[in-house]
Subunit: 113 residues, 2 copies
């Protein structure tokens, strides 16, 4: 877990922005240049590059430069730690559903701390 | 999707902090009071309350107050939109793996833009 702490911070932070998520969604359809990625946005290129930098620092995308064209691609497995972390929280929560229901709507219990 | 945009921003932002994630992990084991949640942290209570407020605004946890004790519980389904969003990105990415491999290590192609 400690291995991923900083990584998960960066990853969830990177995903906490609708524009960056839209760039990730675009990249699931294949690699794209900065200008292709900028197209759907009313956004200056440097802002797009900044967003891509956040995604790259989080390990979600990678880039390579050929001549003057920098192309970005999705790191296919990069979101796994985030997906796995969320998965770990949902599973026990589901197991506890009965207990939660009892907590929210206690049968005839007196108060529980 | 637009329905979730603000929600996903808030949710991923809330998860982008190791202390908040640790609080969520604790809450998967059942509801807890602020002081119980604070225990593992070297953190002032108001800071803990602030973190819990971020999680509550994101819809990840809910709280209820009995007397002077405020108790927090995990919203079991709250993380679903985040899990689903990540799932949507990974699936097409996996389908594109061959294409990515070809992109990263082209056979004998000339350049593709």
């Amino acid at each position: 877990m400690p291995k991923y702490q900083g990584g998960l911070d960066r990853m969830f932070h990177a995903l906490g922005d609708a524009s960056r998520r839209a760039m990730v969604e675009r990249l699931t359809r294949g690699p794209a240049s900065v200008s292709e990625l900028a197209r759907p946005f009313d956004m200056a290129l440097p802002t797009v590059v900044q967003h891509l930098g956040v995604l790259e620092a989080a390990g979600i995308v990678a880039s390579s430069k050929v001549g003057r064209v920098r192309t970005y691609q999705l790191n296919a497995d990069a979101l796994s730690p985030a997906a796995e972390w969320i998965g770990r929280q949902r599973l026990p929560a589901e197991r506890r559903l009965d207990r939660l229901a009892a907590f929210l709507d206690p049968p005839t219990n007196k108060e529980t701390t």
